[in-house]
């Protein structure tokens, strides 16, 4: 009798613990990533092995990180914008503009650090434009950023005079495709951006203000937050992140391809943020989990490639995995998962 009581009490504790764990926002994205990596390692033995080839880290996991970097950068900015209950569709177009500006400046024989500064400044300027439309003119974010999404590639083509312009620059090649102490430099660039953003948003009150504006704009206003300024800042951060991604992408192909640079990257970035637990209803953003979201998407792509399935499967499988992760994140769905545990016990 007593033992039965003890067992049921232990079960209840276990169930409570489980419930708490299941409710954690970080659980499901990380479980999903672990599963994908597990499948990869089964399908492709040696998936986790990392070696140093020609002074550079080499291996499938490094490849996932390397390829995911531009999307991860864009997703970081997207997470912040989504936190304000907004969205930024223009990120791909910003990459194209930034690439065209960068290429143009390189051809003017400007000093590379100055080119970099002006290029990133262009990204910030694009963000300022979006922020102005959303916060000052009060245009819905999806429409406001659609304007630059549509016009941006046109602007980039005008700068490029309709051509794919190439360049040679050791500086930008080193940033994009080089390595530093065996680590691919673009991974370091992304890590540095992540750290800087985390410090800016989580080691000041800016992150709290962004989430307040996204969670309840009227209440944030009454609590004394300047919602307009916060929104403009968020779009500028997104513009800056897209700018950094643009530098990496153009440095990689050593040229500006305004029609294709960053094409559809906004979709993967939005997906990554949502997989990482960010809600389009605003009010919360997770920088780390958004990166996990990118790794899930990139990991899937790699899995399909190494498994020998035709790449056409990529899109379909991606869709399915996203759906599953999102379902697991819904409160109601989690409730019914717990319900199954409960019934089994009874």
């Amino acid at each position: 009798m007593d033992r039965a009581k003890g067992t049921s009490a232990a079960m209840a504790t276990l169930r409570a613990r489980l419930g708490e764990l299941v409710g954690r926002p970080w659980l499901w994205p990380i479980v999903a990533l672990a599963l994908i990596l597990l499948v990869d390692s089964v399908v492709s033995p040696g998936f986790f092995s990392i070696s140093i080839v020609q002074g550079r880290l080499f291996g499938s996991t490094i490849d996932v990180l390397y390829r995911g970097t531009p999307t991860a950068l864009v997703a970081l900015g997207m997470a912040v914008v989504i936190g304000t209950k907004g969205i930024d569709l223009s990120v791909g177009a910003v990459i194209a503009i930034v690439g065209a500006v960068m290429t143009n400046l390189i051809h003017r024989d400007m000093a590379p650090p100055l080119v970099l500064a002006l290029t990133l400044g262009t990204g910030l300027l694009c963000g300022l434009w979006n922020g102005f439309l959303v916060a000052i003119l009060d245009i819905q974010p999806i429409i406001a950023t659609l304007i630059l999404m549509v016009a941006g590639r046109g602007i980039a083509l005008l700068i490029d005079e309709g051509l794919i312009v190439t360049f040679r620059s050791d500086f930008f090649s080193a940033i994009s495709t080089g390595e530093f102490l065996t680590v691919p430099s673009r991974i370091l660039v992304a890590a540095g951006t992540f750290l800087a953003l985390w410090l800016l948003l989580r080691r000041t009150a800016l992150g709290l203000f962004i989430e307040s504006v996204g969670g309840n704009a009227a209440a944030a206003d009454l609590a004394g937050i300047n919602a307009k300024l916060v929104k403009i800042g968020a779009y500028m951060l997104s513009g800056l992140c897209s700018g950094i991604a643009g530098v990496l992408i153009c440095g990689d192909i050593r040229g500006s391809d305004s029609n294709n640079a960053g094409l559809f990257i906004e979709l993967d970035a939005i997906l990554a943020v949502v997989i990482g637990g960010g809600s389009l209803a605003g009010g919360r953003f997770f920088l780390g989990l958004s990166v996990v979201g990118v790794l899930i998407i990139q990991g899937l792509t790699t899995s399909i490639l190494v498994s020998g399935l035709p790449p056409e499967y990529n899109m379909v499988v991606k869709g399915a995995v996203v759906l599953i992760v999102l379902l697991l994140q819904s409160r109601r769905m989690r409730g019914s998962i717990l319900g199954v545990f409960g019934r089994r016990r009874a």
């Binding site: 009150a205 989430e211 309840n216 209440a219 009454l222 004394g224 937050i225 009010g283 919360r284």
Partner: protein, 501 residues
């Protein structure tokens, strides 16, 4: 209209029960042809339930409805309309971007060969407006007209050829005096045509201008019906608030006699057109000023104007005697003013954030985004407030929308307390809070005041106002109509002032 004749609409023994609430309890109500009948009551008295039952939006649980003496069933709004009952709701059910013609013919467009004939629709719209003596360009979008004209267009839409009963739910809420008079002329005209008009309002003055009879609801019961001349203001307000004059309330604390101190904040002719008439008010350290008045009298409006949540268009504010610009909440917070809004869901809580984050928000905004409170400091403040206010939460990291209503209210209160304001404005601080917490919050207000805070407390509960206030500003119809000081603060005196005695 003689009582003996058959009423146009008669409700007999109407009851409506919602889960856990008896919204209407055995209500008998008569509405005669050719009369303007005002229906009054405070929040939750049952006014809207009664209207909804009359107009078919809700089903009654018991009782009988008769129209011209015949029992009827009103199962839907369409059935109500077929019986000649038309309603104009408080929130206009019109589409601002569409033209007047389209708004007026939204449900039934005249057709020709199966297609809409806009020529005929225009004629029909102009006809309808002519009945209200309104001659406007019907092709213009609705939003291009003033709110008063929009209100008249809404009435024009509700009025059918066979309308015999017109229900107007707070039609004058956003109208100024001149526009209200325009509306009243039309109401008088409709009345002369034999239409029975049920007029719901919070403005006592308007009741005496337009109504032939008055009915008062309180807590789901009809507590009185009388011809307007037989129901003086004082009696009407006593009926609404449910007290006879002379009843004793809880004892007030002794007046502190510190009223002579220099005020922290004074307003001079602060006001906004269509919102709140200009008022003067002084708030002193260590003093609680109550804002009393009926629903819609301007309590929240007064609070929001002072805090800068709504921009005043006249008057100014002085802080410590010096003119101060309080044109936004940010500026007010910078001057050490806090404001706990009445509608905490819409204007207070950030639902996704934790209890801790909600509590430190105003203090953090006051410090600016660069000077983040350390996590330890945040936890300490949150823990302190959770303990001090008895906020029932397992820990400070719970999302605030998972708390009960009363605890959410305490979280908002905590937000302002940790920001250490000099002036704190509380709008309905005990709304939706259980009895135990209610007493705690009243005690807390007194305690804050003893610590030298200047408090402005708006409340619909007279007992609460009387219990906490050193001074009471009395409001009626969006005007400050009087101030009661010290020992004079009593329920009777407040009611008399509201009534304009």
């Amino acid at each position: 209209m003689p009582e003996a004749s058959i009423p146009r609409v008669e409700l007999r023994g109407i009851s409506k029960i919602f889960p856990a609430v008896r919204a209407l309890d055995n209500v008998d109500f008569r509405l005669n042809a050719g009369e303007v009948h005002a229906l009054l009551g405070e929040n939750g008295a049952g006014k809207s339930t009664l209207i909804k039952i009359m107009t078919g939006a809700l089903r009654r649980d018991a009782g009988e409805i008769r129209i011209d003496g015949r029992p009827v069933e009103i199962g839907s709004t369409a059935e109500a309309r077929a019986l000649g009952i038309s309603t104009v709701y408080q929130e206009l059910n019109l589409i601002p971007t569409l033209s007047v013609v389209k708004n007026l013919t939204l449900e039934r467009q005249p057709q020709r060969y199966g297609l809409i004939s806009w020529r005929k629709a225009g004629e029909r719209a102009r006809e309808r407006l002519k009945r209200l003596n309104l001659d406007i360009d019907v092709e213009r979008p609705l939003a291009s007209f003033s709110i008063a004209i929009q209100q008249l267009i809404a009435i024009a839409r509700a009025l059918e050829e066979d309308t015999r009963v017109l229900v107007l739910d707070e039609p004058t809420a956003s109208l100024d005096a001149r526009e209200t008079e325009l509306l009243f002329q039309i109401i008088r005209d409709l009345k002369a045509h034999g239409i029975a008009i049920l007029f719901i309002t919070h403005f006592i003055d308007q009741v005496y201008q337009i109504a032939d009879r008055i009915s008062v609801l309180r807590n789901g019961q009809l507590v009185g019906t009388a011809p307007t001349p037989d129901l003086p203001r004082l009696k009407l307000i006593s009926l609404m608030l449910g007290r006879e004059l002379g009843e004793t309330g809880p004892l007030r604390r002794a007046a502190t006699g510190e009223a002579a101190a220099e005020p922290v904040l004074t307003t001079e002719g602060l006001g906004r057109r269509r919102y709140m008439a200009p008022f003067d008010l002084a708030l002193r350290a260590g003093e609680v000023v109550g804002l009393a008045g009926l629903l819609g009298s301007g309590r929240t409006e007064t609070a929001k104007l002072i805090f800068g949540a709504v921009r005043p268009d006249s008057g100014r504010v002085r802080i410590d005697g010096k003119p101060a610009s309080l044109r936004s909440p940010r500026q007010s917070i910078g001057h050490g003013i806090g404001f706990c809004p009445e509608d905490r869901k819409a204007e207070g809580l950030i639902p996704q954030l934790t209890v801790r984050e909600n509590i430190i928000l105003a203090l953090q905004t006051r410090r600016g985004w660069l000077r983040q409170l350390s996590h330890d400091e945040q936890e300490r403040l949150a823990a302190e407030m959770i303990k001090a206010l008895g906020i029932a939460t397992p820990d400070a990291e719970k999302p605030v929308d998972e708390l009960s209503g009363g605890n959410q209210q305490k979280v908002i209160l905590a937000r302002w307390l940790v920001s250490k304001p000099r002036v704190l404005i509380l709008d309905e601080p005990t709304r939706g809070i259980d009895v135990g917490a209610h007493a705690e919050i009243v005690a807390l207000i007194r305690h804050l005041c003893d610590q030298g805070l200047a408090l402005l407390v708006a409340s619909s509960e007279l007992d609460e106002i009387v219990a906490v206030s050193d001074r009471v500003a009395v409001l009626r119809d969006r005007k400050k109509v009087g101030e009661i000081v010290g020992d004079e603060v009593s329920r009777d005196n407040i009611i008399r002032t509201i009534a304009g005695g």
